[in-house]
């Protein structure tokens, strides 16, 4: 017995010493545990394009461009403006993009180019979060080693920091452009292939950062004086602005998951199946009439005329929250009678139309070129930028750029620019100039940039949600406004201005989120529910008078 125990112990001891090697097999063979900024950046830039597309979709209807085709149920939340905390969760930007940009910043060593690009990316993402939600986590965000319950920061403080970070990025890009050794100096060395936006062109990055900065600065027109805003722009205005679309292309191809995200959503799948989003959206009566009043040649480039239209070529539109519910449902002959997005002509995604040709391989747009001109036009009109283009020159350049991108024949552009409702009139008041600029920006924003139109609308009140002939009596003239008055549950005659914080955050990060909600409630005198919060709560720059739109 004793012998046996000794033998057993001996065997066990010998066995155990060999175990370490035997047990040490927990190295992950399936997922990478190492990466570097070169490998992270392309994913960030590609996802950026998809995120821009995602935001534009909802505001297509709310900003009066599109409406939901008949014959489909659903969209009650959108039609009724019944926006709950479960409706949207854009806090997915944090685990999605913002941890990636943080990783790049922390792992770039002495290199300054990668961090500068992440400043531009972060400025876009955080400004969108503030546009959507108001106060959001920032100073404690994406630092799980610090806290798992990040506090919310004051939106305005974040905003000013984003502008500072853009200033920093512009400086870095400018230094790189000017440095004679930028090709060899490790702090500027950069793998152009990973920059699928500008292929390592730092001049373009500088202009893009400066344009994004101008967008952020112009957002403050209601909360800062023109002189203050001019002060913010003065140090970088000389670096110039973008003149064409900023877009990304990782190498789109006609394979599953590899097509342009806009095309994949609004056009066809990789295998050629028409996507449902394509037939779900049709021309909105508001946009239709607005464009028709200007005889705008872009309209027929944006939408196609149904085959059954009489006379041929007439566009047929639907009314927000009304058609499809009050009007007789379409049947096999009337279903095609509305103007859909899809058009089988030779157009592209970036033109606001999708087609069967190169749309799948098109670059995905992050910022449209015309926006830069309209931002400059408004800044010039307000005295924020006093060098460079005049307001009129920028206004006309913006329209021209938009028309060109939409494939309007060049012969049609000049007549439009000089037409009575478009031509710049030096007699216009300051307010009238802003209205005209924003109206044209609204038209140029179609398809690619609906969310920006929504921000302009909140900030300036333009485009006016009512048709010029609007009588303020819905019963008499219900069909010409941007606002939904869906009969089943209309709460306000107003577009929701702010999203409730995501339900998941209320559940998980309860203390911090409730503190942010309570701050909003005390600031705006609203309650956190579907009836008032989305309408009365506002982000910090949204202080325009409430007479825009009107209460029910």
């Amino acid at each position: 017995m004793k012998k046996l125990i000794i033998i057993l112990i001996a065997v066990a001891t010998i066995g155990l010493s060999g175990c370490e090697k035997w047990l040490d097999i927990n190295k992950n063979p399936n997922d990478a545990t190492r990466a570097n900024p070169d490998l992270i950046l392309p994913g960030v830039l590609k996802t950026w394009g998809a995120d821009v597309q995602n935001l534009t979709q909802l505001y297509g209807a709310w900003m009066g461009y599109w409406y939901h085709a008949g014959g489909w149920s659903g969209w009650y939340s959108e039609k009724k403006y019944e926006i709950t905390a479960s409706y949207l969760n854009r806090f997915d930007y944090y685990p999605g993009q913002l941890t990636d940009t943080r990783f790049i910043r922390l792992n770039s060593g002495d290199n300054v180019m990668y961090p500068a690009i992440t400043d531009v990316v972060d400025a876009w993402y955080y400004s969108r979060l503030i546009d959507l939600y108001g106060d959001v986590p920032y100073s404690e965000a994406c630092q799980p080693e610090l806290t798992l319950t990040p506090k919310y920061d004051d939106a305005e403080t974040i905003w000013l920091d984003l502008i500072d970070r853009l200033d920093n990025a512009i400086t870095v890009f400018n230094n790189a452009v000017n440095a004679a050794d930028h090709a060899t100096n490790p702090i500027y060395s950069f793998k152009p292939a990973s920059d699928i936006v500008f292929s390592g062109d730092f001049t373009k990055w500088k202009q893009f950062a400066n344009t994004l900065k101008l967008r952020l600065v112009m957002r403050l027109t209601n909360v800062r004086t023109a002189a203050e805003l001019k002060g913010m722009m003065d140090n970088t205005v000389a670096h110039g602005f973008i003149t064409a679309n900023v877009s990304v292309n990782p190498g789109y191809s006609s394979s599953d998951g590899k097509t342009n995200p806009w095309w994949n959503t609004f056009g066809k799948s990789f295998s050629g199946t028409v996507q449902t989003s394509n037939t779900q959206y049709v021309l909105n009566r508001y946009f239709h009439e607005k464009m028709a009043a200007l005889a705008d040649p872009r309209l027929e480039k944006y939408f196609f005329a149904p085959a059954s239209a009489s006379p041929a070529g007439t566009l047929i539109s639907r009314v927000l929250g009304v058609d499809g519910d009050l009007v007789t449902q379409p049947n096999s002959t009337t279903a095609a009678n509305y103007s859909w997005l899809f058009i089988a002509a030779n157009a592209t995604v970036t033109s606001g139309r999708v087609n069967s040709g190169d749309g799948a391989l098109d670059r995905a747009v992050i910022m449209i070129g015309p926006e830069a001109y309209f931002l400059q036009a408004e800044a010039a009109s307000r005295g924020i930028i006093t060098t460079g283009m005049t307001a009129q020159a920028a206004y006309e350049a913006g329209i021209t750029a938009s028309m060109t991108a939409s494939k309007v024949a060049s012969a049609d552009i000049d007549p439009y620019l000089t037409s009575v409702n478009v031509a710049w009139n030096t007699a216009w008041s300051a307010t009238e100039q802003i209205k005209r600029i924003i109206d044209q920006k609204y038209i140029a924003n179609y398809f690619l940039n609906h969310f920006e139109s929504f921000c302009d609308y909140r900030r300036t009140g333009y485009p006016n949600p009512m048709h010029p002939t609007f009588t303020n009596d819905a019963a008499l003239d219900p069909l010409r406004e941007m606002l939904s008055y869906y009969p089943g549950g209309l709460i306000r005659r107003q577009i929701p201005r702010l999203f409730p914080y995501p339900q998941a955050e209320i559940n998980i990060n309860n203390d911090a989120t409730m503190a942010a909600i309570n701050a909003q409630i005390s600031k705006n005198g609203v309650t956190f529910n579907t009836t008032s919060y989305p309408f009365d709560a506002r982000t910090f720059w949204d202080t325009a008078p409430k007479t825009i739109g009107y209460d029910y």
Binding site: I40, Y94, Q329, S332, A335, N529
Partner: protein, 1046 residues
């Protein structure tokens, strides 16, 4: 089958010819229980006849038996019925074994160690083959439902190949595995193996509920162990058994539907619903019996006209009658030096979902041979399971069929019709003409989207045992358990005519160029588990003190790989090969491996035959942890005292047995997967693009220094038998505290991650289990056994990480919430005033949904009751098994589905009129100083589609209902054809049994459960309590069985 019934008929006719001469047989009957000696009052009966006699005070009997009698049956309360072949003898002695828990039953414990029930200090329940196979269940897991106190079996759905979740004494781990460990012939295997077994091969199942068992099986046994021992050949006879069973499945429960409104989704200017001929939703006008068109005109302008009246049975009639054919053949033989058991089973299943099929074939070989002190045994099992099922959401599609649609008329979707003159006629069921503009014909969808699977499971166990001395034994065991799983998802191509294409394009149905192309996914998973054990057992009695000591070591190596290839589009229609793809090949592959080893010791000290002390300890090393955490130790101790032996005079006519027992143990378990210690980078969405690859920081915050979870269990119990063991009860109370849990906690997205792994939190479980086994009636002709069990489960989440209040168990509305039972469902509710009345808007009459979700209740039962009754009269026996679960709730996603489609009963309760929200109030004060005035006249704005499909459907409050259920699980009626009848076969046929069986025949649900069987779950994970329309309706099963033994 026909031939067999003819045979039975002939047998019955020949009964009268079989009465012949008699002879006298004598013998003595004794008890196998130590110290009991001769048994008086035992019934000795000639099998298949009423010829019987009792034994005298000395256990002796004398009986006149017919010359052709072959077998004697010895029966006695508290003892196992014994059949002995006469084999020409005139003296037939018998030794009867105890069958009662608490008596000297032998219980198979860890590593096949046979332990006397007296020495067991924890609750153990043993189930014999008879109870598992009485209703001819096709898998052993579902046959256990309701039969063991504290065991809960949940079937994921009623498909042909259901998964099961097996829980003992509730859930201990928030996110880790809570399912019991399956130990098959001495080796731990994946619980999935339970449904690969042929239930007929199972000799017995021992369920070790407490943590005490874990010392020997290691950390995987923290949730209790189900030990399955398969049959070995009999040492004294050779037999062949053939059994055939045919059963039918019918849908037994269907959601309640409305019968007032037909198809439509929109309304006119005045809010009146409009009829829509091609709509899937059912929000149209009220039925009026008029003739209406469904679908659109065909190419020639012909219309399909139906009465505008409800057809509520169509959705029920859609489901097929399922059929299961089960055939078993087994051979058992042996002698003094060896045994052999061979069995083969074939089960073929046709499901209630039209076209769903499954098949299982099981081959088993068990054998043993002993040579002097050496014994070698092997157990080999091979199971093949194949399925061919629909992948479509067919239930959802059926529910998306308006009430006036004659759904079953559309079953022939591929047929071609011509009129009398031979001109082609429209088939209204085909893909071009089916009325529904948004959903395909469900019959077509069933055939178009298929999934074919094949699983192969192998287990091989070899045990070598050498007796070193009389009291020392050395045993080595090695086992391999590979399994292989292959699946194919096939999308068959669909081609529209130009007419169909136009129609679908206009209504937004997806079309691809001119058709839907075919697609193909093929994947394979392989798993392999290799275990080795070496055990030294010491067993000796020193006068009154017995010592059994076990020391051993074990290693386990598990590895597996999975891989999938996806051809998202195929070039040649329906040629399912990835070479035939268009575009890039999709897919994935992964490999996982983990190893563990353990050293353990276990000692049982006994004093006389009534006092026992048992202690164990084990140290594990696991590769899943960081090397600094590899090693962890856990001990256990328990004791038992048989008072009926200890206290003289206690054992008597009233109390026949009394044992008290108690124990404390600790078990460590690791609830993390391979490679969970380091943060990872995922390939960024859809990369690589050509030569450009990209990665993205993963969303899970991993933790290098994760530790094992520990469960501390305490239990105490009493086993008492009364009235000469006619009434046996067992009572156990226990408590477990599971601490240091591995929590994959959902974190705020603002942290940059979605979940984080940490060690934190504690769960408390307490419970009481009662088992009652009685034999109220026992006469030579009558016997009634009645067993009942009851379990009460109390469960609380004591703490989570830090001050964390709750953990989301994966976006299912199901949570672990501090201070509440686990898991708990949370719901959204309408905003309410302090008195709980719903606040509505003064103008619109509409309530709003509150931002805060509220806990609604627990999803595991508080009470479980199981009842089994077995009544026999001569050769006829009737067995019934029933069970109850209650005190819990579940969420049915059919609530949402039915509100979307508008066919559910709920959507018509108010005739879709506007109504004043019941018991609602209006705030007539200000937001700061609210004044709540009862609302008597402001109606909601719309009582139709907008209210039900939006407001109500956005609210989860009403989707949650009581999950209480009583089920009559099994009923079987069997008749053993008497030996006298079979005599003419010259003893070739030794037994013939015919039976009628039924399973899940009745289900009793609370009134407000309009939806489904609350037992179903989305998967076998911890987030129990949510059902969806991917679970097809519950079914009942009934059929016939015939068993012949040779």
């Amino acid at each position: 089958m026909k031939k067999l019934s003819l045979l039975i008929g002939l047998l019955v006719l020949s009964v009268t010819a079989l009465i012949g001469q008699t002879k006298v047989i004598t013998g003595t009957v004794t008890s196998a229980v130590e110290g009991e000696g001769a048994l008086p009052g035992v019934t000795v009966q000639v099998k298949g006849t009423t010829i019987a006699t009792p034994t005298d005070v000395n256990g002796r009997y004398s009986l006149n038996v017919p010359e052709n009698a072959t077998t004697l049956v010895f029966s006695y309360i508290g003892m196992k019925k014994l059949e002995v072949e006469i084999a020409g003898r005139s003296v037939v002695d018998a030794v009867l074994e105890s069958e009662m828990v608490g008596l000297n039953e032998v219980i198979v414990s860890a590593f096949g160690i046979k332990r006397n029930a007296n020495e067991i200090g924890s609750a153990v329940t043993t189930i014999e083959n008879e109870l598992i196979t009485q209703a001819k269940a096709t898998d052993a897991a579902s046959a256990l439902s309701g039969k063991i106190a504290g065991l809960q079996i949940n079937t994921v759905n009623a498909s042909v190949n259901p998964d099961v979740r097996v829980i003992l004494r509730g859930n201990r781990s928030f996110l880790g595995n809570n399912q019991a460990l399956l130990v098959l012939d001495g080796i731990p295997v994946n619980l999935a193996y339970l449904s690969t077994l042929n239930p007929n091969d199972i000799e017995s199942m021992n369920v070790l509920k407490g943590g005490n068992a874990a010392a020997l099986y290691g950390s995987e046994a923290a949730n209790g162990v189900i030990i399955v021992t398969t049959k070995s050949g009999s040492r004294d006879k050779t037999s062949i058994q053939f059994s055939t069973t045919t059963t039918f499945d019918k849908v037994s429960f269907f959601p309640q539907l409305q019968d007032r409104f037909g198809s439509g989704s929109a309304s006119d200017n005045y809010g009146n619903p409009l009829y829509e001929a091609f709509e899937n939703q059912c929000w149209g006008p009220e039925f009026d019996g008029s003739m209406v068109q469904i679908g659109l005109d065909d190419e020639n302008g012909a219309k399909l006209i139906v009465p505008y009246s409800p057809l509520p049975d169509e959705k029920y009639k859609f489901w097929d009658t399922g059929m299961t054919y089960q055939n078993d053949l087994s051979f058992s033989s042996g002698n003094e030096t060896g045994t052999i058991y061979l069995a083969i089973q074939d089960v073929k299943i046709n499901g209630v979902v039209p076209g769903d099929e499954a098949r299982r074939d099981v081959f088993r070989f068990n054998g043993s041979k002993n040579y002097r002190g050496f014994t070698a045994s092997a157990s080999i099992n091979y199971t093949i399971r194949t399925t061919n099922t629909s992948r479509s959401g067919v239930y959802w599609n059926v529910l998306n069929t308006p009430m006036q649609i004659p759904l079953t008329d559309f079953s022939d979707w591929s047929g071609k019709y011509t009129d009398a003159a031979g001109n082609p006629m429209t088939n209204w069921a085909d893909i071009d003409h089916y009325y529904n503009a948004y959903y395909p014909n469900p019959y077509e969808e069933l055939e178009r989207l298929r999934r074919e699977t094949r699983r192969d499971y192998f287990t091989g166990v070899v045990t070598l045992e050498q007796k070193l001395t009389k009291w020392l034994k050395f045993e080595v065991r090695g086992s391999i358990a590979p399994n292989w799983y292959r699946y194919e998802n096939k999308n068959y191509a669909r081609t529209y005519s130009p007419y169909g294409l136009l129609m679908y394009t206009q209504y937004g149905r997806s079309v691809s160029r001119t058709k839907n192309l075919s697609a193909y996914t093929v994947g394979e998973n392989m798993g392999f588990r290799f275990t080795t054990d070496a055990i030294l057992t010491f067993d000796h009695k020193f006068n009154d003190i017995s010592v059994r000591a076990i020391a051993g070591g074990t290693t386990r190596d598990s590895f597996g790989k999975s891989g999938e290839h996806v051809a998202a589009t195929l070039e040649i229609d329906d040629f399912f090969n990835i070479k035939n793809r268009v575009g890039e090949l999709g897919g994935s592959a992964s490999w996982n491996q983990n190893r563990s080893m353990g050293l353990f010791g276990d000692i049982t000290l006994g004093y006389k035959n009534y006092a026992y002390l048992h202690a164990s300890g084990r140290n594990d090393w696991s590769s899943l942890l960081d090397p600094s955490q590899w090693s962890f130790f856990y001990p256990g101790v328990d004791a038992s005292l048989v008072l009926s032996e200890l206290i003289p005079g206690l054992k008597g006519d009233i109390i026949s047995y009394l044992k008290v027992r108690g124990g404390v143990s600790k078990v460590g378990s690791i609830n993390i997967d391979n490679y969970s210690l380091e943060n990872t980078f995922g390939v960024a969405g859809n990369f690589p693009f050509g030569s450009l690859s990209a990665y993205s920081v993963g969303n899970t915050l991993n933790n290098r220094y994760l530790e094992p979870e520990f469960t501390l269990s305490k239990e105490a119990g009493v086993d008492i038998s009364f009235l000469n063991s006619r009434i046996n009860t067992s009572i156990t109370a226990y408590q477990t505290n599971t601490t240091n849990q591995t929590v994959d906690m959902t974190v705020s997205s603002a942290t940059g991650y979605t979940s984080s792994k940490i060690n934190a939190g504690e769960m408390l479980n307490k419970g009481i289990e009662l088992e009652l086994k009685t034999t109220p009636i026992a006469t030579p002709n009558w016997r009634w056994d009645f067993n009942a069990n009851y379990a009460y489960w109390y469960n609380r989440v004591v703490s989570l990480a830090g001050d964390l209040e709750e953990i989301d168990l994966g976006n299912t509305a199901i949570y672990a919430i501090k201070g509440m039972a686990f898991p708990t469902i949370k719901v959204t509710q309408f905003t309410r005033d302090p008195q709980g009345r719903v606040i509505v808007d003064g103008t619109t009459g509409m309530p709003t949904i509150d931002a805060q979700t509220i806990p609604r209740g627990q999803t595991v039962p508080k009470h479980l009751i199981g009842l089994q009754s077995s009544l026999s009269w001569k050769n006829l026996s009737l067995a019934i098994s029933a069970d109850y679960r209650g005190g819990h709730i579940f969420r049915s996603d059919l609530y949402y589905d039915l509100l979307f489609t508008g066919v559910g009963k709920l959507s018509a309760i108010n005739a879709r009129e506007r109504f004043v929200f019941p018991n609602s109030v209006i705030n007539t004060g200000t937001a700061e100083n609210p004044v709540y005035t009862p609302n008597t006249n402001v109606t909601i704005q719309d009582g139709g589609a907008a209210w039900w499909t939006s407001t109500m459907r956005n609210l989860s409050y009403y989707s949650v209902n009581s999950a209480a259920v009583w089920k009559i699980r099994e009923i079987s009626l069997t008749y053993d054809i008497p030996q006298s009848v079979l005599g003419f076969t010259n003893n070739v046929v030794k037994g013939l049994t015919v039976g009628v069986v039924g399973r899940n025949l009745f289900m009793f649900l609370p009134k407000n459960n309009l939806y489904t069987d609350p037992e179903f779950g989305r998967n076998t994970g911890n987030a129990v309590g949510r059902t969806t329309s991917s679970q097809t309706p519950a079914t009942r099963t009934y059929g016939v069985n015939l068993t012949v033994s040779f």
